[in-house]
Symmetry: C2
Subunit: 184 residues, 2 copies
């Protein structure tokens, strides 16, 4: 687990709010302080990270706004079955601003537009590419491996899903820990 | 059930897209044609109606964008239990642009900011008021009576919910039919 100072967190929250603003998304003052700067335990937020604002996450459904810096990557993972009643998280990504390259199982793109973060190439195993531009969306069924990267200007993505249980996510890279600790 | 001509539908779709644009929301050409102009069977869309774009509606979750004309009302209704496994639709409304006055059971507002559509006053029975401005949101548990009205400029509202089964909704006004037929 990596740690983040309060000052760093504030910087990341401000960056996320600036991206949301470009997408026309209004965030309250209280929400600004709730934005999570997820670095997936790798300590290289600009390379592998995600600004996350959870709007709602109940037993049954969840909505989030994701802010991505230029070329920032959300690393490969899947949402496994949780119980008999819960086959795992199903999610839809809708691009609001910028460009997102999304990868899922299937035919490998001949020339993928995204590159895995340096040194982590072997933890990226699915290469069927979908390019999402504003207004484009993609629905992922539970337990589907996926990863995504923002284009050169960054991106804002809305996520609509069933309940989010981040701590249950399974990442291809065993070094990854989903929960970032904030200190200081 | 009221009917809507294709020309009227197109006009309503264009109005909705113009509202979405004000909220910074990008809609694809294909989605533009999927926007529903719900008049709730009353044939007075500008008074009682809703422009609805369904982004996704699976067995488990749903996301929509709602476009409301100035002072337009979504009439009082609730989402009843559907089965043992489905206690009814749970939904979160998030205001993206404009103002929305939302009414649910509870202490009646001393001076409600919205007025029910003329002639329909008796079908509006819950009066606990919440004012939603951009960035504000409200989560409704299943089977809760509610209605809402846009402010004088109109409104754009994102709805995040469990599966949407509009035909199961129960409206206080028995004249209301949720499904609008398009002809011509």
């Amino acid at each position: 687990m990596t740690v983040l100072t309060k000052r760093e967190l504030k910087k990341r929250q401000n960056e996320a709010v600036a991206l949301f603003r470009r997408a026309g998304i209004v965030v309250t003052k209280a929400e600004r302080l709730q934005i999570e700067a997820a670095d997936f335990g790798l300590g290289q937020y600009e390379q592998t990270g995600l600004g996350v604002l959870v709007y709602v996450n109940t037993e049954r459904c969840c909505a989030k706004e994701l802010a991505m810096l230029p070329r920032q990557t959300c690393p490969e993972h899947r949402h496994p079955p949780i119980s008999r009643a819960n086959p795992g998280k199903e999610e839809t990504f809708r691009c609001r601003w910028g460009t997102v390259y999304l990868y899922v199982p299937g035919k490998k793109a001949a020339r993928p537009r995204a590159r895995p973060p340096k040194g982590c190439e072997k933890w990226y195993t699915v290469w069927h590419e979908t390019v999402l531009r504003p207004g484009d969306q993609y629905t992922l069924m539970p337990d589907t491996l996926h990863w995504f990267q923002a284009g050169h200007r960054g991106a804002v993505v809305s996520e609509f899903s069933t309940r989010s249980l981040d701590e249950k996510d399974i990442f291809t890279d065993p070094e990854i820990a989903r929960i970032t600790k904030v200190v200081g």
